[in-house]
């Protein structure tokens, strides 16, 4: 029972990071039908940017204000990268065959990943201890302050995003564009603005996810984006890609699944089990748990 509760806590923590990153994938896919392979590397870049802001700009301060500033600056930086990425690598290819945009995304991923390596070096860096190491022991189940912060902050961000997409005019524009871009344009929606907004939101949520990864795992490497990005993308697919609540659900499910596999079965086979889960879900429900059944556009 102890293992169960411990892995439940760990799984929810990992899951909320997956979910934050998965939202970036799913929103871009929803509107552009494009797997933004560079998203995972932007998540990694965010952790490094956070590291540099901490050491160079904030003078290694760990006050609440300093930590909040680090989060905001890193998110803003990644939002800018997201917009530049969209303008340079994706917008020129919007009318091109779909796979061209996929290769462009792979190229952008290489650029960002190796850009990180050129700037911060190929070795693992240690992310600063921004949050004090506080642990609570509930009869064998240990929960840290970091876990609580990650879980609460992720939930707040996700609920805020959900309300924004469901309740505001701009949110309605996002939903309309993801159903039918051309029809949305005919209704007077500026699809270019919607896409820019999606990259801003997705990238800054990913940036928060990247900082969480740094806080939680501490060791950050230039090529970690692929690993987390792939998992987050799988989470988005499991939930039904293009579907925002689906990404949150998928992230949480995948986080729990991983934690329980690590706790009860073995961690050497974690990747294999994750992909088996993905394949089983795709065979049973080809469009994910919350995805609608739609035929591929002809």
């Amino acid at each position: 029972m102890d293992i169960f509760l411990q892995q439940l806590a760990n799984g929810l923590t990992i899951g909320s990071m997956f979910a934050l990153v998965a939202l970036g994938y799913t929103m871009v896919y929803g509107v552009m039908r494009l797997i933004n392979f560079a998203h995972g590397d932007m998540v990694a870049a965010s952790a490094f940017v956070g590291l540099t802001i901490y050491t160079q700009v904030m003078g290694q301060a760990t006050s609440l204000l300093a930590v909040v500033t680090i989060f905001l600056l890193a998110a803003a930086a990644m939002a800018c990268v997201g917009i530049v990425l969209e303008r340079l690598a994706y917008r020129p290819l919007r009318e091109a065959p779909r796979l061209s945009a996929v290769v462009s995304a792979l190229g952008a991923s290489l650029v960002i990943q190796n850009g990180i390596m050129l700037i911060w070096g190929p070795r693992m860096r240690i992310f600063p201890e921004l949050v004090p190491q506080v642990y609570w022991d509930f009869g064998g189940v240990v929960i840290s302050l970091i876990q609580v912060i990650i879980l609460v902050l992720s939930l707040v961000l996700m609920i805020a995003l959900y309300l924004f997409v469901e309740k505001t005019r701009m949110g309605a524009a996002i939903r309309a564009s993801s159903i039918d871009q051309d029809a949305a344009r005919l209704m007077g929606i500026d699809v270019n603005r919607v896409i820019a907004l999606i990259f801003i939101i997705g990238s800054s949520l990913g940036a928060v996810g990247g900082l969480f990864i740094g806080l939680y795992y501490r060791g950050i490497t230039f090529n970690m984006g692929w690993q987390y990005g792939l998992y987050a993308f799988i989470a988005a697919i499991i939930g039904g890609i293009g579907n925002i609540p689906g990404a949150m659900l998928g992230g949480m499910l995948l986080g729990l699944f991983n934690a329980f596999i690590a706790g009860y079965v073995s961690s050497t086979w974690a990747d294999a089990y994750t992909f088996i889960l993905l394949i089983v879900i795709l065979i049973v429900r080809p469009t994910g748990i919350l995805g609608e059944r739609v035929a591929e556009k002809v």
Partner: protein, 318 residues
């Protein structure tokens, strides 16, 4: 372009045939790598370019062939040459079995599933399943290939083996393009609904394309294993699959396009070795730029003898 192509093939074959005598051993090794990777990229082209299935796991079949050869040679003492049939058959069967349940998936889902197969394969090999794959270090000390009692120990011999496999692959590609199966694949790539409605069993042909592509990649794996007399997991990880995928799209699903793609992705890095740390950074930019300038690939595919005015600029597929 037609004339260029007609002239291009004999020139290419002659140049490749005399190439090893013009190169020093280091560049001979690079040339062998070029030939092997060209075969894998062409096999990927059958699945991705010719049939339009978003497969990002081709290194799996390449690796499966290489490991089949390595295991049969090192654990069961088979001569290298005798492993070839199984090194084609096992990847082909895996291709069919793995493709079976997933070919109906929408493009991007198929892509992620094939990435998954590739990652699971590497994990299986690294964890040394059944104690025969050698774990993270792989298997080394394989025998040299023997052909009619003649050992292919030197590099030039391996080069000609790889060259022969490339020629064989080109022959298969040409026959495929002119066959019923090739036309069926072309239709289903262009418009699956229309293909189904004129009576093409799309599921069977999709699985066929996977089986064929996997078998050819497996054969390339055997040559790879005999070049290095070794196999190791990282040579077949999913980054390799990403490269093969990119080659076909950047090159543009035609034989010259794929060969240019392999040259750009695997030979240029060797030339610019001094810039090793900058290599992939620049590569990424080159990939984006290539796609923006030539969205249909450097050397786009042509099919059959259809007059130009009949070809509608289609917006899907590679």
């Amino acid at each position: 372009m037609k004339n260029l192509q007609r002239l291009g093939y004999p020139v290419f074959i002659v140049v490749m045939a005399i190439l090893p005598f013009l190169l020093d051993p280091r560049w001979q090794a690079v040339a062998i790598t070029f030939l092997i990777f060209a075969v894998v990229a062409l096999s990927q082209d059958i699945i991705l370019g010719k049939s339009g299935m978003f497969n990002m796991g081709q290194a799996l079949f390449f690796g499966l062939g290489a490991y089949t050869t390595a295991i049969l040679n090192s654990k069961f003492g088979w001569p290298m040459l005798a492993t070839i049939p199984l090194a084609i058959l096992i990847p082909a069967v895996f291709g069919i079995l793995l493709a079976g349940p997933i070919v109906h998936l929408r493009g991007d889902y198929l892509l992620v599933t094939t990435i998954g197969f590739n990652i699971v394969f590497v994990q299986v090999v690294q964890n040394n399943l059944g104690g025969i794959t050698g774990g993270p270090n792989g298997i080394f000390g394989l025998d040299a290939m023997k052909l009619f009692g003649w050992e292919l120990t030197n590099q030039v011999a391996v080069y000609y083996l790889a060259f022969a496999v490339l020629l064989l692959t080109l022959l298969v590609m040409r026959n495929l393009a002119q066959s019923k199966a090739g036309r069926a694949l072309h239709y289903l790539r262009e418009d699956q609904l229309a293909a189904e409605s004129i009576g093409i069993n799309t599921r069977v042909y999709k699985i066929f394309a996977f089986g064929l592509g996997a078998g050819i990649a497996g054969l390339a794996g055997t040559v790879y294993a005999s070049q290095y007399a070794a196999v190791s997991p990282e040579a077949f990880d999913f980054m390799q699959s990403v490269l093969f995928f990119s080659i076909v799209i950047v090159g543009g699903s035609s034989v010259p396009g794929v060969l240019i793609g392999v040259f750009v992705m695997f030979v240029l890095p060797e030339i610019f070795r001094e810039f090793a740390t900058w290599r992939f950074f620049i590569f990424g930019f080159a990939m984006i730029l290539a796609m923006i300038l030539r969205p249909r690939g450097i050397w786009p595919a042509t099919f059959g003898k259809i007059p130009k005015f009949l070809i509608k600029e289609s917006n899907h597929g590679a």
